[in-house]
Amino acid sequence: MASTGDLEPTHYPARRAAQVALHYLNTHHGSPFRVFGLQQVHKASAEDVAAGGRKYKLDFSVTDWGSGSAGPALRCSADVLFPRTERHSAPEVQLHCEALHQINSTAQEEDAFYQKYISPDSTVSARDIPDSFGNMSEEMQPFWRLARVAASFIMLRESSENTEFNMAKVASVTQQESSEEQLMLEFVVLLHDFPSQEIVQWKLLASWSPDRGVRVLQTEWQPRCPHATKPPN
């Protein structure tokens, strides 16, 4: 049913592939002060590949949610390969964005944030970010972004041509004891998938420092209802 060759940039196949590239971008360049969102797909094409799978070529623009809609758009190109295997395996992404290192540095905010919370006494713990009305305190915003970046690891891994993930909310954040000078945070995040309209819950352990960026150490799918016993896939 999927077409090979040029894709309509406003249609969902191109957008879903671009979203996967976004998740990849955020895993590499996201931070407590930087989360990228898709602005627009300019061009897209797809072809079946010999090894079995489908490769998308994308030309798109992204913006940094942190700087609001006033921020500049970055032009990116990506190859996104969705493998066709019996059991799901993660898509493979190759990505290049222009001027990535020219965007406004957030080094100062990152250092201040790091210094504040790396102290051994720090025991951040919060639930429901944002609350039901979309509110979150200024103090929680970097934690929300960290959760969003960490969730990108999961969303990237779980993506296929039949999914389109966003993070719906952060159910909880609990700071763990720092390790190797990394902030250690346990998150429970709720992800939303468009095609199934499901809300999927994941618990994860992530580390962050200004030097090493975000790493995800553990992930665990969580059932949401008492009677739901198996993962969505």
Binding site: T10, F133, G134, Q197, E198, A228
Partner: protein, 348 residues
């Protein structure tokens, strides 16, 4: 003395205000999300305060036996008028949608006396507006933080099913069960044991069926995604007026963008979102309501369903222009001569 009589008038007004409960003169905050009770009280208030142009109609019951109510808005007429239908809140967690319906009502009621365009719409059309269709689900999504992301109705599962709810927007008699649904009753796109199993879907179906010849335009409001969807949800079925629907949708997206720069995409669901069936939009088009659109409001996934309250106003302002763009097109197509000279009807 003049001063004395002014003071007496003010005292009388204050007393009347207290006797009336005081609620009427407290401004309703359209920039906050409201509970179902608040919305119901607001609907009563709109009817009470604007008796010459607003009446309410109960057109069904939810599973939990609540009255599904719409506001009928327009100049009263002894003969049947053409109409525009708008429903909000088919999906419980999409709180910005009921907020939009309330904003829309506020805008048209606040401008029909002075804005010659809205005045003309009131003359030639009735607006049937349902601020919250899935009342049971909406109330459930307010219960606590764990229920905020509920989508479906609250009917209990049938047979061996231990989960609640049917996706109302897969339950309509419009290619029911064909694509974009799940037969797992725990799924968020479970289309119900049968078509129209849900009383909420049946209420809309019955009303539209009874007013089939009057309703020119069907608008159903959802979030999120920043999309305007046109029929049909099945990839192999095209609406006969596809080109026109695209034109009208694109004009609406342009009107939206002009307000705050927000981009909306326009297309059929299988093109720009995903294939689906049993939707209310498809049902409306199938019973020959020519202009049928789904609006997916802000945002594109940053906050998703939990759109912050400080975005309610700009989201509603831009979507209002989009909706009015469509309403005006539909009106002008049906009332050509009136489009040229819109005269203020003297009601007051």
């Amino acid at each position: 003395t003049m001063k004395g009589s002014v003071i007496s008038v003010l005292v009388v007004l204050a007393v009347v205000d207290r006797l009336a409960g005081g609620l009427e003169h407290r401004s309703y905050d359209y920039t906050k999300y409201h509970t179902m009770d608040e919305i119901s009280a607001w609907m009563n208030q709109m009817e009470r305060e604007n008796p010459d142009v607003v009446s309410s109609m109960i057109y069904g019951q939810t599973y939990e036996n609540r009255n599904i109510t719409l506001l009928k808005i327009g100049f009263k007429s002894t003969t049947p008028k053409k109409a525009v239908w708008m429903d909000c809140g088919i999906h419980a967690r999409e709180w910005i949608a009921p907020a939009f319906c309330q904003h829309f009502v506020k805008e048209i009621l606040g401008s029909y006396k002075t804005d010659s365009n809205v005045n003309m719409l009131f003359k030639n059309l009735d607006f049937y507006i349902t601020p919250v269709l899935n009342m049971d689900g909406y109330i459930y999504s307010w219960r606590d933080k764990t229920t905020r992301l509920w989508r479906k109705s609250r009917s209990p599962g049938t047979g061996n099913c231990t989960c609640f709810g049917t996706d109302l927007n897969r339950n309509f008699y419009a290619n029911w069960g064909m694509v974009g649904i799940s037969r797992d009753c725990c799924s968020d796109i479970y289309n119900g044991p049968t078509a129209l199993s849900e009383p909420e879907a049946k209420a809309v179906t019955d009303f539209l069926g009874a007013h089939q010849n009057e309703v020119l335009c069907y608008l159903t409001i959802h979030s999120y995604g920043q999309l305007i969807l046109i029929p049909y949800g099945h990839p192999n079925i095209s609406a006969p007026n596809y080109e026109e629907l695209m034109e009208v949708g694109l004009a609406a997206a342009k009107a939206i963008k002009a307000v705050h720069g927000t981009s909306y995409k326009v297309g059929t669901a299988p093109d720009i979102l995903y294939a689906n069936s049993g939707t209310s939009r498809d049902f409306a088009r199938l019973i020959r309501i020519p202009y049928s659109f789904t609006f997916e409001l802000r945002d594109k996934g940053n906050y998703g369903f939990i759109l912050p309250e400080d975005q309610i106003q700009p989201a509603c302002e831009e979507s209002y222009q989009g909706a009015m763009s469509i309403v005006n097109y539909v009106h002008d197509k049906n009332f050509k001569s009136a489009a040229i000279t819109g005269t203020l009807a003297t009601v007051f």
